[in-house]
């Protein structure tokens, strides 16, 4: 690989193997993962429970270290202890269970915690925290203790804390699983905005196939191996790909398939109820 190409890669995962136990015979959770993620990519990671998604993403900021192989962030190896703090500043992580991430006595402090360690001027910190609280709709909860929030509000607090830090890359592990659809859309909007306007790389783990459709790149894992890497559109274009990743196709895609079998001439890449409605109205006006 040429020097230039390597530079553009924010994350390089090379022959990564991982096992939680040091017993050699113990089964490997990650098996020979190879993956490059460039700066500014908008990536989703999908796969069944226990397939290794969280394990993989925890390698991306050195929370877990490879049993074999390597992970590099901006060219720095995660198992090089000196680089770890640089890596952690580049890659911010929102965990699957926000309880493990929230510990301050009020929401505002929790959101500010990460930014405060970044040696920024006070005024900048204040602006960033304000903005992050507002973008997650938490302003009215700023003085509440995080452990006294609803599950979804906790998730929002954890996300706001990472947004405020504006790291180069944000990794979110099922960040919206407890949120109502409106809040989900807000989170999606906030991270898309960071991605498009600030070039922030986003890696987003989810089980929600309709959410996955919003990303530019989809990586599917199954049993610790990458079984698909490409666009979401391609992933859902053939039943074979979701099947390989143990994923049931979303109802909208099933419906389009059924209608097509019945001879309704629909365009092939419908992926939302709105698009189906439009396509049906088009059909009717042509008749």
């Amino acid at each position: 690989m040429s020097g230039e190409a390597t530079l553009k890669n924010l994350i390089e995962v090379c022959n990564l193997e991982f096992s939680y136990s040091d017993k050699v015979s113990e089964y490997r959770v990650l098996k020979d993962i190879n993956l490059n993620i460039q700066k500014g990519e908008f990536v989703t990671v999908l796969g069944p429970n226990g397939c290794g998604k969280s394990t993989l993403v925890r390698h991306l900021n050195g929370l877990l270290l490879p049993t074999a192989g390597s992970v590099k962030v901006n060219g720095f190896l995660t198992n090089d202890e000196i680089s770890l703090s640089t890596i952690r500043r580049s890659v911010g992580m929102v965990f699957q269970n926000p309880d493990t991430q929230l510990f301050a006595s009020v929401v505002e402090e929790d959101v500010a915690f990460g930014v405060e360690n970044m040696c920024l001027p006070r005024a900048d910190i204040k602006i960033r925290v304000e903005k992050a609280l507002a973008s997650m709709g938490l302003t009215e909860y700023r003085y509440h203790p995080p452990h006294r929030l609803s599950g979804g509000q906790k998730q929002k607090t954890a996300i706001a804390g990472i947004l405020a830090m504006e790291p180069e890359c944000i990794v979110l592990d099922e960040p919206t699983s407890m949120l109502d659809p409106k809040s989900r859309a807000e989170v999606m909007k906030a991270i898309r905005e960071l991605n498009l306007n600030h070039g922030i790389t986003v890696i987003y783990v989810t089980h929600d196939t309709s959410e996955a459709l919003c990303f530019d790149r989809l990586i599917a894992l199954n049993s610790g191996e990458i079984v698909f890497d490409g666009t979401p559109k391609k992933f859902f274009s053939k039943p074979e790909y979701p099947a390989r990743a143990g994923i049931i196709v979303p109802p909208i895609i099933e419906l389009v398939e059924r209608l097509t079998v019945h001879g309704v001439a629909l365009p092939p890449d419908i992926k939302s109820p709105e698009e189906l409605v439009d396509a049906i109205c088009q059909l009717n006006s042509e008749m």
């Binding site: 069944p48 429970n49 226990g50 509440h144 599950g151 109502d180 659809p181 089980h207 709105e274 049906i280």
Partner: protein, 281 residues
């Protein structure tokens, strides 16, 4: 088994500066064998309501009745509510404390005095029910599992005690698509075959809309809608609150907006498929 809420209100941290009224004058009747869905924006009081079902929270005002008697009347009624109502928490971590998955799942049946020789079978059966391979998972620590696996263990633990009422707080969150389907099928079977009463809190209505009987919609602790599921879905309420509608109904509503004729309130893929076919033919 039936549950009734009479004018139930709840205030967290009552009498402090952060006091928050999370339930306001809730009235509900859940009949034996009924399947109630509870929806509402994040923070609307769904989990608070659920924790009243087995006395984890005590109403600030009003009463919760289990088969006609106040669950908070005495220690004994509270104990019996804990046994009869299986509660699956929003975060499974909050209910996992055993050192192995087996111990975890066996805890309920042991505690509620099921005979020793039956327990092994009960644990194995409920692990199968949630799609956890018995041999593979029984000796593992519940704390060293993936998020979705933890959720399955928590579910198995609650199912193992064979409760008459099961209350599930966003149970499909964190489950993969096969796991979701499996869970919905399991609860449907328990509901249809064993007559278990179900209270299901969720943001995802598509899969369960064809199965459930009634729907309660909360907003800021208030009842915004309550009644037979299809009637409540047919009102514009859910859309106004930014909540999810079944995919079939989203399509039906979209088509209606474009001036197309759609019959009734389609909630399944089959139903909307028929409607669309009769439109285009």
């Amino acid at each position: 088994m039936s549950i009734e809420f009479r004018n139930v209100s709840y205030i967290y941290s009552k009498g402090t500066p952060i006091a928050r009224q999370s339930l306001k004058d809730i009235n509900l009747t859940i009949n034996n064998g009924e399947w109630l869905v509870v929806m509402g924006p994040t923070g609307s009081g769904k989990s608070t309501l659920l924790q009243h079902l087995n006395g984890l929270l005590k109403p600030t005002a009003g009463t919760v009745l289990l088969d006609g008697s106040d669950i908070n009347a005495a220690k004994s009624s509270l104990k019996s509510a804990r046994e009869k109502v299986g509660l699956v928490f929003q975060y499974p971590e909050h209910q996992l404390f055993g050192s192995t998955v087996f111990e975890e799942v066996a805890y309920g049946p042991e505690n509620f005095g099921f005979p020793k020789d039956e327990i092994l079978g009960m644990v194995e059966a409920s692990m199968n029910t949630v799609g956890l391979d018995f041999a593979k998972f029984k000796d593992r620590s519940p704390h060293e599992l993936s998020g979705g696996e933890k959720r399955r263990v928590a579910l198995a633990g609650v199912l193992a005690s064979r409760p008459g009422i099961i209350a599930l707080d966003e149970p499909t969150a964190g489950l993969d698509s096969a796991g979701k389907k499996h869970l919905v099928d399991t609860i449907t079977r328990l509901n249809r075959e064993s007559g278990i009463t179900v209270i299901w809190v969720t943001h995802e209505i598509t899969e369960i809309a064809p199965l459930a009987d009634s729907l309660l919609v909360l907003e800021q602790g208030n009842t915004r809608g309550y009644g037979p599921l299809r009637d409540t879905l047919a009102s514009p309420l859910l859309g106004e609150l930014g909540l999810d509608l079944p995919v079939a109904l989203q399509i039906a509503n979209g088509l209606r907006k474009q001036g197309k004729q759609i019959q009734g309130c389609p909630v399944t893929i089959d139903e909307i498929e028929q409607e669309i076919l009769s439109l285009v033919r």
